[in-house]
């Protein structure tokens, strides 16, 4: 209801000033305010309805919108930005020894079956450990092995490679490098063991298996 404004009172704040006032009052208010509430708080003769309409226009499309709630008005953050109204706390945790060992075996031996993981670790692999690695998206189920029972195999994922900064699982350091890095103790082999004549021979039948120096695999 905007009457042609004869502006009788020169002391009446200009509409821009009235908008400022309504803006401040609504911002600080703990609850939505009606036009009546606003009129009670503004200087005499102000027109809160018009100020609200002006404010509403100037807030259109912004991160904050002037909403009508029942009879009242209030500022609310724009609904399309609600995804920003959440904070995420990041909790840093270390992987359990079982999980990191299982992960290492999968990375070095993939595709590998659960039975093979257990054989290498020497202990049963709990379902939870594999589930955790799968949930973390570091491990996924690969193709079934074409052997009796058709067991599922496990392989590492792109997410895994990303996290560990690897181009491919082939980039994993081999045993010789682990030893050179001091991660593997270089102890003399047990008695009766024969040293391989040529440790890094190319014509080996392990050629198909990625990790170098790994004599464990027989398929």
């Amino acid at each position: 209801m905007t009457q042609p404004d004869p502006r009788p009172d020169p002391s009446l704040p200009a509409m821009a000033e009235q908008e400022r006032m309504v803006e401040a009052i609504l911002f600080a208010s703990a609850r939505p305010l009606t036009v009546r509430d606003l009129a009670d708080r503004l200087p005499q003769g102000c027109d809160p309805a018009e100020a609200l309409a002006g404010l509403r226009r100037s807030y259109a499309g912004r991160g904050v919108v002037l909403e009508r709630i029942g009879d009242g008005y209030a500022f609310r953050t724009a609904p399309d930005l609600s995804f920003l109204m959440q904070t995420e706390t990041v909790e840093q945790r270390r992987l359990s020894r079982a999980a990191i060992e299982t992960l290492a075996i999968i990375a070095y031996h993939q595709p590998v079956t659960r039975a093979e993981i257990e054989e290498i670790r020497g202990v049963a692999v709990s379902r939870g450990t594999l589930d955790q690695l799968i949930e973390m998206e570091w491990v996924r189920i690969g193709r079934r092995r074409m052997t009796p029972g058709r067991p599922a195999t496990f392989v590492v994922t792109e997410t895994f490679l990303d996290h560990f900064g690897l181009e491919s699982a082939r980039d994993l350091p081999g045993l010789a490098e682990l030893r050179a890095a001091g991660l593997l103790e270089a102890r003399p082999p047990a008695e009766g063991m024969i040293l391989p004549l040529a440790p890094q021979e190319a014509d080996d039948d392990i050629g198909a298996t990625p990790p170098p120096g790994d004599f464990l695999k027989d398929d």
Binding site: F75, L95, L103, L183, E185, I194
Partner: protein
Amino acid sequence: MPPAGDIRHLRPLPEADTVAQRRADELLVVDVDGYEGPLDLLLTLARTQKVDLMTISVLDLAEQYLAFVEQARALRIELAADYLVMAAWLAFLKSRLLLPPDPQAEGPSAEDMAAHLAFQLERLAAMRRAAAQLMARDRLGITRFARGTPEVVARTRRTEWQAGLIDLMRAYARLKTREEFRPYAFDRRDVFTMEQALDRMRGLIGYAGDWTNLSDFLPEGWDNHGPRRRSATAATFAASLELARQGRIEIRQADPFAPIRFRRRPPTTDMP
């Protein structure tokens, strides 16, 4: 503190010149409790000099303070110890200010002490002005307001797993190291030991009257390629060295990398 009326009653009227002066004195006495210690009282007294605190006459101030203490005593008002300590210190300062400076005297001069007192008074006054200016600012909740209805921020928790390549390698190294020390038959599947080779050679050597290639001594199933062949070759070679040491065979290799050959040692030769 006795009320003002009682004080007037107790008052033996010292040399108060005017009524105004008397009233001022009285005010001070009655308010002694209202001071926050001697410095606060000194600041109030200093203000009666109506000059910049930096140019205040410390000598006059000391006299004012001493007069005040004297008056309180005359009124039998018990002053706290710190007021009396200050009085003693000011009396000392006053005497030093009045006497010509002693060139032998150690420590700060009377002027330094007076200057420091003036500095302290000025600093306290400045802090009081600053406090007043601070409290007069546009304060939050008084003239400035925060959002009346802050919106709740939903909290979610995400777990970030800490594992680096080094952890992975360490874990794998741990497993592999454990494996290397494990004397499992599983590992020996592809290992032909020297004992086995010796047994085999002892049985076969009798037939090797002529030069025979080492590779012909390899057992069946170990002579193709790969680790089994390597293992059998090494074991057989080691066994042959042992038999040569015992004088039972002779070894020959024509050139480097040429086939290693051996034969039974002719029985005619006697060993030492």
